[in-house]
């Protein structure tokens, strides 16, 4: 006898997506722990931005803040947005967007960082346009 069984395939049961594209989501305790870490890292960011320059470590402000922001973003995506437990296919469009975004930010900053920028005020008039074009 063929292995055939009846299955109701209503739209409501189709909405019950958990079977195929996800695994178990984190527990409530994990969610609260993640929030605690995010809270502490955000507090550390605020302290670092204001305290490091006062103790002569201003050069550490940007790298430390960037690292902390990346950690926060990764935790939100992995645990709150469930990329860690969901199908890897969901990661692809987000990773593509993030790579494009980071590429644009880095390349444009690299392109303009050494260029003199001229404020175009009405007083400068045509001179402003000429200076900006150089």
């Amino acid at each position: 006898m063929s292995a055939t069984h009846q299955a109701t395939h209503s739209s409501a049961s189709h909405d019950a997506h958990g079977a195929h594209d996800t695994h178990a989501h984190p527990s409530t305790r994990t969610y609260i722990n993640i929030f605690g870490v995010l809270f502490l890292v955000t507090a550390a960011e605020v302290v670092a931005a204001q305290a490091l320059p006062l103790v002569g470590l201003a050069s550490l402000v940007v790298p430390s803040l960037l690292i902390m922001a990346v950690v926060k973003g990764a935790m939100i995506m992995m645990y709150y947005m469930h990329l860690k437990s969901d199908s890897a296919w969901f990661t692809v469009p987000m990773a593509f967007g993030l790579i494009l975004a980071a590429g644009m930010l880095i390349s444009m900053i690299g392109l303009f960082i050494g260029s003199p920028r001229v404020a175009c005020t009405p007083e400068l008039g045509k001179g402003c346009v000429a200076a900006a074009a150089k």
């Binding site: 063929s2 989501h25 409530t28 605020v46 940007v62 922001a69 926060k72 975004a101 900053i109 920028r117």
Partner: protein
Amino acid sequence: MAATTTHGQGHALPAHPPSGLESLDMRKLGMWIFLGSDCVFFASLITTYFVNRSLIFAGDPHPHHVLGINFTAVLAFILLGSSLTMVLSLAGFQRNDITAGRNWLLATAILGTLFLTGQALEFSNLAHEGVTLSSGLFGQCFLIMTGFHGTHVFIGVIWLLSCWLFAGTGRFNAKNFMGVEIAGLYWHFVDLVWVAIFTLIYLI
């Protein structure tokens, strides 16, 4: 004969669950594609700010003099808290605790409204300091960027309240929570963008 599952309306389906792309919920995949594209949208606004940063910081008023870091940190904590209430809401629906799911949804919408109120206060203070859309490069870059983020939050609040109302009619439960999960993805993304804006614009 190959093993098949009979569809409720008589169509034959493979007995083995679908794998790969066909197993995915297309609404959820669509939301992820949208969020990926929205990353590029916000990156373009942040890039515009950074490309003009030397001019912005040479102008008057200086951003670090008019942007209140401590006040904005409170807004960041509010948005982080709303992300927690959002996942707790989803967890409530997943275990069929509809009341908890609805209450956490409402809490998320309230926190989002608090954030918007704080942002409106900040914009009002900036206007008193002379920072408006027509006041110069800083006003344009900053207000358009944070204004678009605020618009996303506003849309998110409306979406969450819609989910809350629908949940009251029994639409969401342990077998059907995709609507809440997709709204949650959008909401967490709004939080994610604020993580970037808070660090790159307010702190650096």
